[in-house]
């Protein structure tokens, strides 16, 4: 600089912010609408991540509660195997495996259950009858909705417990009226109704009696078709390997071993796949929001040519003008982003409440969402800002 006390043009930070807000203050509706695009994009991303995280944590607590150490042993089904049954000795043999804590056997009883003795025999309602050991419910981590589960005293007197779906189909809603069901040609009192059993949904559609009762009254042969095995959590895989030869040393390939919690894990994985899809849609919405801001900024620069010219005449440098417009775009994006985070959190909270999940918004969604909004704002604002800065003062002041 050629001396004589000429100081470079400069602005205070507060003034930088104030001038960046001029366009937003004078065109509030337009500013709100262009920020809305970003809001929708960020809200959908936050909501998708929040919902998937909340639902996943719900599935994980479910897994925690149920335990991943439960194995199910069933007779293999396939061509040439017939209606396979497990060998009589299966239950005893399995309980001798070291890391196995509990074994509970379930057998199918060849009988049907009806609401009354007047219902035609063909209308069995798809309800099966199962003979179980009294520790079954505990092994499965199930609970009763009403009454109690079977115990050994019930051996003397025939009694039945209904799965949740079975109870509904048989019209048993409560135990106050001491309901009876017509099972295998005689009346059985219902002593309990189960809640849905997550690890063994087929029990939901079953009428359940003890083995002793089944043998005494229903002609049950005492041969289990399914074993529920609780193992030491450290040894689950090893136990899975030795189960088939233990259950059926002659034909180990006719024994199926499965782990019910795998299904829940698969569900969690499937939800992740959907999450990615919706996340992609959210990103597209965000991009469209960014284009909206760029569009509004380009128009704003065209409309405010004379303001740009005036500012240059008042001593603004190109950089001052560029910063003003870039910051305006950034404010728009930031307002949109904050709105989006709030909206997304609100949607997640509302949905989680409906589904009874715990609310969980990952920090990544919040900070990532805001960062994405600012990045989009920068990109969207850069071109209009540079265009405004490149405008020559005389051209900007020329009004036609």
């Amino acid at each position: 600089m050629s001396g004589n006390g000429l100081k470079p043009s400069r602005m205070h930070l507060a003034d930088v912010w104030r001038t960046a807000g001029v366009g937003l203050r004078t065109r509030k509706l337009r500013a709100a609408l262009s920020a809305l695009g970003i809001t929708i994009g960020i809200a959908s991303i936050v909501a998708v991540l929040g919902l998937s995280e909340s639902s996943k944590s719900d599935l994980l607590t479910q897994l925690d509660r149920l335990g991943t150490n439960l194995l199910v042993v069933q007779a293999g089904q396939g061509i040439g195997l017939g209606n396979a049954e497990l060998p009589d000795t299966a239950s005893a043999m399995v309980s001798r495996i070291g890391p196995v804590d509990e074994v509970s056997a379930v057998g199918s009883v060849n009988a049907n259950v009806y609401r009354t003795d007047l219902v035609p025999a063909s209308q069995s309602g798809g309800i099966s009858v199962k003979a179980v050991e009294t520790d079954l419910l505990e092994s499965l981590g199930g609970t009763v909705a009403a009454g109690r589960f079977l115990d050994d005293t019930a051996t003397e007197y025939p009694a039945v417990v209904l799965g949740s779906v079975a109870a509904e189909r048989l019209g048993v809603t409560g135990l106050e009226d001491r309901p009876l069901v017509w099972l295998g040609g005689r009346w059985f009192p219902v002593v309990g109704i189960l809640n849905p059993v997550d690890l063994s949904p087929d029990l939901d559609r079953a009428a359940i009696v003890t083995e002793a009762v089944a043998e005494e009254y229903l002609g049950y042969d005492g041969v289990a078709s399914t074993l529920y095995v609780r193992t030491d959590p450290e040894w689950v895989d090893a136990v899975m390997d030795v189960l088939p030869p233990t259950v059926n040393p002659e034909n180990p390939d006719q024994v199926q071993v499965s782990r019910p919690t795998d299904a829940i894990e698969a569900k969690a994985a499937a939800e992740s796949a959907f999450t990615n899809l919706f996340l992609g849609l959210g990103a597209v919405a965000l991009l469209v929001g960014g284009v909206g801001i760029a569009n509004v900024m380009v128009i704003s620069v065209l409309e405010r040519r004379s303001e740009i010219g005036l500012r240059r005449a008042l001593g603004a440098t190109r950089r001052h003008v560029a910063v003003q417009f870039l910051l305006e775009a950034l404010i728009l994006a930031a307002v949109g982003g904050i709105g989006g985070v709030l909206l997304g959190t609100g949607v997640t909270a509302a949905y989680a409440r409906i589904r009874g999940w715990g609310l969980l918004i990952p920090g990544l969604a919040v900070w990532g969402g805001l960062a994405a909004a600012l990045l989009i704002g920068t990109i969207a604002g850069l071109y209009p800002a540079l265009r405004a800065a490149r405008l020559s003062p005389t051209e900007a002041l020329r009004t036609t």
Binding site: L6, K7, P8, V22, T26, E307, R312, L314, T317, P393
Partner: protein
């Protein structure tokens, strides 16, 4: 007397086919404290001259010195600094920010000088009093009449006590009575020591000023100072 503005051999040719010469060899010297009118028909190069005087545009050839600074050797940033501290502008269209109060509009005249906000507003309030708008300070610009708007614009141009104030058809959008009042105001500022160059196509207004420069076809056709009619 020292020159606040000195132009010698200034030409400005707008590129095109064929190139359009707007200024063709202007020699002009404005001393500190002068009040000069520049008159001429449209197309005579008045606005181009004003833009070059105000460093908003650069000459194609020739030398321009404003407040002792050789404009041709200054960068865009340095010119911005020069404008912020040494030059004030008054425009025909006022160019006020409608969303801001009269006070803030005037204070914006100092926005890029780096002065603190409180000081800017204090100076702005003083200047508004001086142009007779002390009672309208808090009014938003879009609530003001045309004459009031131009007074605010004049206040904005002089608030930083610039070495040179350039007015481009300051009465072009005003009725004759308000025009009269604005011209009175400019004369008043002149008596307070402000150097003014006023562009106008209105010969009556031009005639009221001590010195008239007549432009035609991009050249100085007549300059009352050169003719010996001193202010």
């Amino acid at each position: 007397m020292s020159a606040v503005l000195e132009m010698s051999g200034v030409t400005r040719v707008y590129p095109g086919t064929p190139p359009v010469p707007a200024l063709r060899g202007i020699d002009l010297r404005v001393e500190t404290g002068e009040l000069v009118s520049v008159v001429g028909p449209s197309g005579s190069g008045k606005s181009t001259l004003l833009h070059i005087m105000g460093t908003l545009d650069r000459p194609t050839a020739g030398r321009v010195e404003v407040g002792g600074f050789d404009v041709s050797r200054m960068s865009d940033r340095q010119l911005s600094a020069l404008r912020s501290q040494r030059i004030g502008f008054v425009f025909q269209q006022f160019h006020l920010l409608d969303a801001e109060t009269a006070l803030d509009n005037v204070a914006d005249g100092l926005l890029y000088t780096g002065r603190p906000a409180a000081e800017r507003r204090l100076m702005a309030a003083d200047t508004l009093e001086r142009v007779g708008l002390g009672h309208r300070m808090r009014q938003h610009a879009n609530k003001l009449s045309g004459g009031e708007r131009q007074r605010v614009a004049v206040a904005r141009a002089v608030v930083g006590r610039p070495a040179l104030v350039l007015a481009d058809e300051p009465t072009g959008n005003l009725d004759s009575k308000t025009s009269e009042a604005i011209v009175d105001l400019l004369e008043e500022l002149h008596t307070e020591g402000i150097t003014l160059v006023v562009i106008t196509h209105n010969p009556e207004i031009a005639a009221r000023f001590p010195r008239q420069v007549a432009l035609r076809d991009g050249m100085v056709e007549a300059d009352s100072a050169r003719a010996g009619v001193t202010a």
